[in-house]
Subunit: 187 residues, 2 copies
């Protein structure tokens, strides 16, 4: 297995079968998440595993952008009591995003589909998720990740775009146009 | 190859050999980066590949936290002209962090070591990197990632910590103490 192939096989899945994700696979996703690097080893993360059908149903009802029916959601959170203080405080977003990406890649390797639903920094989303999962104010939900066995078949691809790559210095004269943005890449 | 093993093999490397990273591997890192998901497919990223020894030397001199001698740096940037407008603007940080983590994982699979040096949101760091690489104000350097062949041997591990995992609802009574933070995990 070429690791770049696995990264390119990670595609967003929005249609899942009813098959549950086993506890063993859930633990593997969490091991993957917490293998990510964090700024100064701060490990500011917490994870809420949601696989109770009623809890999932409430998330679907309350969150406009999270209406996909999946057997498992993991909510990745930053705990401000564990995060940096001062000007580096927002580093928790990068740490928790790296942990999230690790889960998506692990899922791909384990035969699961996944989709990343952004929550933070949109206050309306943050407040809804906090209320549903009874989270205190110092815990910030970054996203909701749905996992399950995919009903979709998508080909591997990257959005690789040489216009976004510079060598040794920036080029202020290069223009970006939306038509240059690859829809489906060749990789 | 188990993908979770690769994720756990990704460890920060701060000592590199002098061997250069080939153009072929640099392109694979960039393909991996741009295979990451982005909010509403915004693809707000740009990448500055730095492998000119003089440019690397200037980064080492000017950046207190980036003094490691590596043959290759890739600076991951968000371009505010490509990012969301309005309250979701900061989503670029999550998109570019996922792209960064993809590069670190690809590097591990390709036999390279790597280390993530945080730049944003620390203004002093952002300004130094912008000046060195002649970047305009609408382009924000998120980090500097060093790559190369590692001189260190580190065992695979996760920081997996069951105290950071909740099921179906948050538990406000759970206390986190710094002694609970794993230094070296068992995974």
């Amino acid at each position: 297995m070429d690791v770049v192939d696995v990264l390119c096989k990670r595609r967003s899945t929005r249609s899942f079968t009813c098959d549950p994700v086993s506890d063993e696979l859930i633990q593997k996703l969490l091991i993957a998440a917490m293998a990510a690097p964090t700024a100064a080893n701060s490990q500011p993360w917490e994870f809420i595993v949601v696989n109770d059908p009623e809890a999932l149903s409430i998330i679907r009802e309350e969150m406009v952008f999270a209406r996909y029916k999946a057997p498992l959601a993991i909510v990745v959170c930053g705990n401000m009591k564990l995060a940096f203080k001062g000007p580096g405080k927002e580093m928790w977003v990068q740490d928790c995003s790296a942990a999230t990406e690790n889960m998506l890649i692990a899922a791909t390797g384990l035969g699961l589909g996944s989709v990343w639903i952004g929550v933070y920094p949109l206050d309306s989303n943050v407040n809804v998720v906090r209320k549903i999962l009874d989270m205190p104010n110092e815990v910030v939900p970054l996203n909701i990740i749905y996992f399950g066995y995919s009903e979709e078949v998508k080909e591997a691809r990257s959005r690789y775009n040489e216009k976004r790559v510079y060598f040794n210095t920036y080029d202020r004269n290069r223009k970006h146009r939306s038509k240059d943005k690859p829809k489906i890449g060749h990789y």
